[in-house]
Amino acid sequence: MSDTPKMDKDRRTWLIATTAVGGCGVAAVAYPFLDSFQPSERAKAAGAAVEVDISGMKPDEMRTVEWRGKPVWVVRRNQGQVKELAKLEGELADPKSLRDPAALTPAYARNEYRSIKPEYLVVVGICSHLGCSPTAKIQAGPQPSLPNDWPGGFLCPCHGSTFDLAGRVYKNKPAPDNLEVPPHMYLSDTKILIGEDKKA
């Protein structure tokens, strides 16, 4: 329609004004519906922090708790294993946990042992490849699917990714990232709170 009749300015103003106001109305009505997708109070309560009792844990022992539907591992490493961690750097994809630190490694875990206390490792037990839960292979030494000089760590059964005892992923494996260190804090020497890291 190349030769349209002369545009009526008043009509156009009226149309734009009412469409704008109507649009605000539509947005105002849409907001509650879209917001209803957010987690409900029950979901938020279910996602609350979880306490782990670490009293009486022996070296090489691992305890698992569920937080937000995922397994969180607490592993008591022995002194030898902690020392070995520094030597593995050549074999690891991201030994200094430089990739995505905001999501994977909170400030208090940015050290050689990726934890608050060197003795205890706290990581989310979900492989960073496609989400399976790796199997604990904390004992050192040759084992099926693992190299002869295996120092101890985790092996993911789905696609073979391996992680060391600081949750760091080895080179040349499908998984791109180290295991996530969840927000956590020590309530006492025998209790860890997983899910929160500020004084509540």
Binding site: M1, S2, F33, S36, S40
Partner: protein
């Protein structure tokens, strides 16, 4: 015919070229013209003509709020009640979505009853609009079923016992009744099986059919064109370009007009949702805040307000009532036998009188109550053929017709009121009178609608510009 791309000048805008591409493959502009910008509706529409468009909007509101409710509702007898409380208390904005759905359910019936009333007083069901009316009555029937199925879902005391009663209506049918009720329930008593299938009916089966019927209803309307308060056929008077002189294009006149009506409606709707969603126990009943208990019926049982007129008629049908009912059927049938010369008509009427006598005697009043309740809705379908008035609109009918319509409406409202109240001898009698008036309005219509002196219907509509 070979495919023809619609041509636009080379200097046309992208929008124009895009539209031409679509129009070559889908009749978008054609549909818009046929049903909006070149669909000519009578220019004398009044207040009663808002309700059809409002009904479409309420249907959309119910579907959208329903979609969001289903995200959190659990159709399991052990979880349903709690899931509704979860929505009300814990889902962000869940309370608002639930209140919109419950208010929308009652407002749907307000709008539909007013929409049907318009059809009644202006004779919109008369030829050539019988099929629009039939689609409409089907929508009304299915809407009642949809509301009934939906009402079970919160699994409160009213939900449970209301469902129990209505399913037992079917058990009242002779011979096949009990088996039919068992089949409907999926169990010996209303339970989880019943809840799950009612959920399916309410959420997908009936909404699909309802949307289909609404589309058919509008297509049938557009094929013939709208009626108007004067009952004048505007297509009888065309201008030199073939357009009805008393018609105006739906878009932009009635599209804008209806948006204004929608604004008023939404103000009322919002006021109810935010300030009175329970409406004193009529929109959300107090008893339904108690989880269903199969071992105890609440002391005061009543259906939701929009079913109460029909419920009144069901309750009014007692064994003693069958006698005056038979007499009131026999009288007009007897008059037909006396006045007709056709032997077949005489025979049919006599047979009906006899069958009714035997039926009323041998079959329980319980069964006849169900028949009357169902019949009172089904009789609506026959209105185009019951109405023998030569004139469509009440404006040109004899004055006494207005009193007959008035009596019908008053008795419908009183029946509705009586349905909410607990039974008493006086109320039972009034409900019986109301039932007679309601049924007589329709069954005697072929006779009374012809009586009186009709006014001259004008050729042109009465319209005063303002």
């Amino acid at each position: 015919m070979a495919f023809q791309e619609i041509k636009v000048p080379d200097n046309a805008s992208i929008a124009e070229k895009g539209l031409a591409w679509v129009d070559s493959r889908f009749p978008l502009t054609k549909l818009f013209k046929e049903h909006m910008s070149e669909y000519y509706a009578p220019k004398n529409f009044n207040f009663w003509y808002f309700f059809g468009a409002l009904a479409i909007v309420v249907l959309a509101i119910q579907i959208v709020t329903g979609i969001f409710l289903v995200m959190n509702y659990k159709p399991d007898a052990a979880k349903a009640f709690d899931s509704v409380e979860y929505i009300m208390r814990e889902v962000p904005w869940g309370w608002l979505i639930r209140y919109m759905h419950s208010t929308g359910s009652s407002m749907f019936f307000v709008v539909v009853y007013l929409h049907m009333f318009r059809g009644l007083i202006y004779g919109s069901y008369q030829k050539p609009r019988e099929l629009i009316w039939i689609f409409g009555c089907s929508i009304f029937l299915l809407l009642m079923a949809e509301a009934f199925f939906g009402y079970l879902l919160p699994w409160g005391q009213m939900s449970y016992w209301g469902a129990q009663v209505i399913v037992n209506l079917f058990a009242a049918i002779p011979l096949i009744g009990p088996d039919l009720a068992l089949w409907l329930r999926g169990d010996y008593v209303v339970g989880d099986a019943t809840l799950n299938r009612f959920f399916s009916f309410h959420v997908i089966a009936l909404p699909l059919v309802l949307v289909g019927l609404v589309v058919a209803h509008i297509i049938a309307l557009h094929e013939v064109g709208s009626n108007n308060p004067d009952g004048v056929e505007i297509k009888n008077t065309l201008d030199s370009t073939g357009k009805p002189v008393d018609g105006i294009p739906f878009h932009p006149y009635y599209s804008v007009h209806d948006i204004m009506g929608l604004g008023v409606f939404l103000m009322i709707f919002a006021a109810i949702v935010f300030f009175a969603p329970e409406m004193g126990g009529y929109f959300l009943e107090a008893n339904n805040f108690i989880p269903a208990d199969p071992l105890q019926t609440p002391s005061h049982i009543a259906p939701v307000w929009y079913f109460t007129p029909f419920y009144s008629m069901l309750r009014a049908t007692t064994t003693p009532f069958l006698i005056p009912l038979w007499i009131l059927c026999a009288i007009p049938l007897g008059l037909v036998i006396k006045n007709t010369r056709d032997i077949r008509v005489k025979g049919v009427c006599a047979a009906i009188i006899l069958v009714l006598a035997i039926g009323f005697y041998f079959l329980d009043a319980k069964f006849w109550g169900v028949v009357i309740m169902g019949g009172s809705v089904v009789i609506l379908f026959f209105l185009p053929w019951l109405d023998k008035s030569p004139v469509r609109s009440i404006r040109y009918r004899p004055d006494f017709h207005k009193y007959i319509y008035g009596a019908f409406i008053v008795s419908f409202v009183i029946l509705g009121y009586l349905g909410i109240k607990p039974p008493s001898p006086l109320f039972e009698f009034l409900a019986q009178v109301g039932t007679i008036i309601y049924l007589a309005f329709f069954f005697a219509m072929p006779w009374w609608s012809k009586l009186g002196s009709f006014k001259q219907v004008p050729d042109r509509v009465n319209f005063v510009a303002h």
